[in-house]
Symmetry: D2
């Protein structure tokens, strides 16, 4: 029998931390004794618990401690983080530490360093006295890599004392919720966030073009609601096709019907943009006259188009090496406070893995399985909306404009 003391501190009960911990111990067939437990008597008080965790043997105990670690357990005595050098480029030492998407600290030379660029399923290295989160393939020979869980502290987001409507909508995934009201609440949240200097990214798939949501998204970019666009070749191609030919994958959006010869439009579009030297130059040359990419270029909103094997062309701005694209996405997502994911599972999951759990995310898809999958991937502050982006985005844009008008009127009075 092996045992170890662990501590928890915070809103242990209503943030479900202690229940989850005891739950986990029982699940793993471990034992526990509660050595000390001071409960915050009122809701603003913190609680404190000290547990003795018992495993059948050291290995069993370690398994239990691993799970407790990921929900915020501290080992009472502050231990120094353990580091081992990477034996070669991209090769990691045994037992390397795998990150969560929660804010994380390492106790390095007696100081708690916050890990920079935290995201799911990555590794931590100490470089120049800083703790940095790295993709596996960024590790260089000799990098000092965190191994084991000693000296690593994870701080899962607590349930806020004062909750907003926004947070309450989280959790369940269903198409049977009041869509217009959800849009109202999301619009409110975006406006509040923008007023406080927050930054919003949109991750979007080509259904934006096909379902007729493109003009509204372009409007949101023009009006300054969006600070970053993450997407792929298809969204950009069909957006530009709409500008040049008035069709999306050859379909006339006013009738929902393919136009004769329309099947050629997306390749003709790509060819024109390549000939012009890229999207930016095609906007400057007046070839692209409106739409999402146009507004990004005109308003200096950065965009990243990541390649996929489905791509035709692709457009010159598309980053065809997915690892290069991923790094560019991570870079661009620094300092983003909210991400709106629109009808794309591939890009949404990729972005989800790059985000810390403190970033608000809104996932919109007509397929409930997609929304569920995105919500399951550990983004704590996520809201899922099962609806049609073809109606959602225009309605959201209307609501944003309406709310801005109201506020202006109030201020003018």
């Amino acid at each position: 029998m092996n045992a170890r003391e662990v501590e928890f501190e915070g809103h242990l009960i209503d943030s479900m931390i202690l229940p989850k911990a005891l739950d986990a111990i029982l699940d793993l067939e471990g034992e526990f004794e509660i050595l000390e437990f001071r409960i915050g008597k009122k809701k603003e008080d913190h609680s404190y618990a000290r547990l003795l965790v018992v495993g059948r043997d050291e290995q069993h105990l370690q398994k239990i401690l691993h799970v407790l670690h990921r929900i915020g357990a501290k080992i009472p005595e502050a231990e120094e983080v353990e580091l081992k050098p990477a034996p070669a480029d991209k090769v990691l030492p045994e037992n390397f530490y795998v990150t969560t998407n929660h804010p994380t600290f390492v106790n390095y030379k007696g100081k708690w360093l916050q890990v920079e660029g935290i995201g799911m399923d990555k590794v931590i290295a100490i470089r120049n006295g800083k703790a940095v989160c790295l993709f596996l393939n960024e590790v260089k020979k000799g990098d000092l890599i965190v191994v084991g869980e000693k000296g690593v502290r994870v701080v899962p987001p607590e349930r806020p004392r004062k909750v907003s409507h926004f947070q309450f909508m989280g959790g369940s995934v269903s198409s049977e919720r009041p869509t217009e009201e959800l849009i109202e609440i999301i619009a409110e949240e975006i406006i509040n966030l923008k007023r406080n200097g927050g930054r919003v990214a949109v991750v979007a798939g080509p259904a934006i073009d096909h379902t007729g949501a493109r003009n509204a998204l372009a409007g949101m970019i023009r009006d300054g609601y969006i600070d970053l666009l993450l997407s792929g070749n298809a969204l950009a191609v069909h957006d530009i096709e709409l500008s040049i030919f008035g069709t999306s994958l050859g379909m006339d959006l006013r009738t929902g019907r393919p136009v004769p010869g329309g099947n050629r439009h997306h390749l003709y579009t790509i060819s024109k943009v390549i000939a012009a030297g890229g999207i930016r130059k095609a906007v400057e040359a007046g070839i692209i006259k409106d739409g999402i990419m146009y507004e990004c270029v005109k308003n200096n909103i950065p965009f990243i188009l990541a390649g996929s094997i489905r791509d035709d062309g692709p457009l010159p701005e598309v980053i065809t090496d997915v690892m290069v694209a991923k790094k560019a996405m991570r870079e661009a997502l620094q300092n983003i406070d909210m991400v709106i994911m629109l009808a794309t599972m591939l890009h949404s999951i990729a972005v989800g893995n790059l985000l810390p759990s403190t970033v608000k995310t809104i996932c919109v898809d007509i397929n409930p399985a997609t929304v569920t999958k995105l919500m399951d991937r550990g983004t704590a502050q996520a809201i899922g909306v099962v609806t049609d982006v073809g109606l959602f985005v225009p309605q959201l844009y209307e609501k944003l404009k309406e709310k801005e008008r109201e506020k202006r009127e109030i201020m003018e009075e």
Copy 2:
């Protein structure tokens, strides 16, 4: 080897009748010889074809002829329909004729009678010199029932020479179509139909209430766009719950959250309506102050609420015997020209089976499998829209009002 001559007449090629016929013969491993074929040289001309169909034996030939019959084949010599009396109530003679949902005629005593109340999967009886379509359980002992296919003519709808946008949208089921534009086209169709004295029925499920589409549907009823409502207990209960308690299944639609104690609201609602003596009386008594049922009562729009085993209560107006409900639905659907099916598979399929193929139908559901299933059930003039009714209905109502305004302005000038 057995053979028989059959004829086809109409727009044989572009309405796919002849291709389907030859296709069917080949599928069934029959043989054919084209005895005569006069093709309409221009698009407004009819075509005529006379085929010799050959089967391995009489049974094989009959199978082939059965399929050809259902797509409109005529046996050249006009044969008298064959009738046999029903041996007992609900019991049918051998080889009874099973209807399609296409306009159907029987050659009775030398005259072609159109079958009244045609719908899918029913039987035909001659009663008082009229050909009537009956449910199986409506058959009475001694009823003269059509058997075999002799003397029965089916007239599948032809592809119209001049097509509208509405018809073009049919066919494919996909969430990747321009939703706002589809709504525009549907609104146009409704307005045209209403102007020409057409009648519109709505078939709706409780998602109308939960997704926040209820006020818009109530508005459409108030403004005279809807002539009949077919639904069940749940839609009515939650609609009235919204009027009395402001919640739908205990959820506050302004926040998307359950209210404490809200789980009781739908039972309290039912109890109040029962105590008042039913929906009509509860409206008159001022207990129900707004919503779908309120507008139906106030505007004398008939509604039929058919029971299901999921029902709580149910409300007094709910018809708990499903066969009684079905007959009431069939009755109410006479002279309806368009049916809008909103987020209910059960009711939509039931209604689909009661409609002739000449009635326009619009099926809206967020689940593409539901829309596909409805479209597969043989309603030729059907459009499927994969979208969220919570946004679709309010948008459709807005569009209807906008178009009416536009037309009024044009007329006033």
Copy 3:
């Protein structure tokens, strides 16, 4: 400010009872003080908590207490249940108590009576000194109906100390789980349950016939795994159609293709069964020779076929009044220990509402939204499997037979 003391007892922390309670108070913007808290130090110990709950006013406090009540809060002093007579048939007194699906007790004349036939969203009456759960429309004038929450105790199922594989699978709904292994675990659970004298009900839709699962389900009935079948007209019709014509809705299952004339088969089937006097008589007369209904009749397994407005015919055994059907279903479900729900949302939800939370349920559907909806409706011991019943049922039957063989072999050694 109004305040009240409440108590909780049990495995408060790892069964999430106390966390849920504090969570609820905070959600509703109430206040609390923890007056006493004795935590079980080891996992087999019970815990005890006494809280002072504070609301803004009496109404606010009552809302909070209502939510706490439904998760098991006790008012320390044992209060007598409050009863009021029903003013008329089906009419309830104000503020009547609405049931959960958890085991429930009422303090009547100083004794705690367990409510009989507990199910979701019903009412409680005292009849002949017993507490019984009634549908709203079963209430008779003068029935003593429980009002308010005083003297009513709800006992939500606790998380078992020793968990089985079966319980662990609950919760998440995803198509990305190991289907064969889930089937293995479910088979094990069924066998254990049957060995201990447990009783299993199946709720099934017509996809059982269309997807080719019918023979396997018939086999499970023949071999004694199933004690009750709840379904509708369609499943029975196509099952019998398969016996008489070898088709399901006219489709030849060996080829997946419609057979010519097959569209008539289901009506011909219904007609034959009506002529024979019903399913039982048709089995006895040798008209039905195999399949699900055949095995039910031959093995004296009760079945209930509830009507719906989609039904053709219907077959004589179908109960066309849905309220009569619902009562028959409730009756039949007494003493059932497990329910397997196969590809039918309508019947599954109806059955779910009739079951106490202590009955194990397995929901199988290819549509994840259906499974999620079933899991959301409060059936605590539910497992959802997103898969194809056409493969699931045959595989489950194989697994059951295999496990029985293994056990026999072990016993024979």
Copy 4:
């Protein structure tokens, strides 16, 4: 008014070619006159039609001719294909020809050359006297590119006179078909194809690992049913994780539960494979002991792993540049006769675009929308199966083994 004569030849009516042509002309509001029409009187005869097609003006006429071209229309006089040089790398001449996925011929210097490597949405160049199909980004400055539609002939696959079960299953997408029987038919088709020296590719996503289908797929590779594997990083990672740790994304497949610490397994797996120098070396070093990748390496079955932005790691064999990956896929797909697509929309659509319409494809996914989307993308010989790969693949493998056994027994007799 502009007019042009076009010809059609083949099984014009039952292969729907003429109906589609007339349909298209009417859709586009063109006019036609049938100048000559000789119908094959028996099913083995070819038909011939000569039409005068009339448009409002030359542009309108060209639109109509474009659509007719893609369904096989010939301009009577054999015209020489028109070629223009590419002005720069990746830049195409105006009005360049966009390919279908049907076998295509160009009339170059009086000879009809078949276009090599035909696939959807590409361009045709003449290089070294051969007509080759190129991705847009493969075009080099000076390449002679086909422009317009003159001298280009498309030959859509005809409906075979003698149809197999396999072909009949095509078309509809529904979860309500007999899954076991579909598997039987697919197994038969695979065995026939392999006996005739055919080659089968599998395109698969990571659900193969999570749903427990992996061992069966590995078995199919080992037994020689599969000649090529196209997939991504995730399938390979979790397959190898199963070999090393017995988990898939940290889930123990025997219980469907995550194992403690399992979240690290996939990164540990990737790290081990990188350290070993790749998948092949890890197999040789005995690190990977079984599974899909193991069988590919041991049996010299080529595999291509294409990168995506979701990838962790990735494994060394993953091609991170999507355009390089796409070319490798096209190369590998030469001489493939059947493609089985298992639970991956991204890879399946990418592969679909690379395949000529003559290759048989089987698309299996639990989401009907995915299957519909794949079927809509123009792969004529496609079968869609809406089912769970976790049961489908093991059952298919069993069926293949059973059929081989039967055949061996027959031959041994």
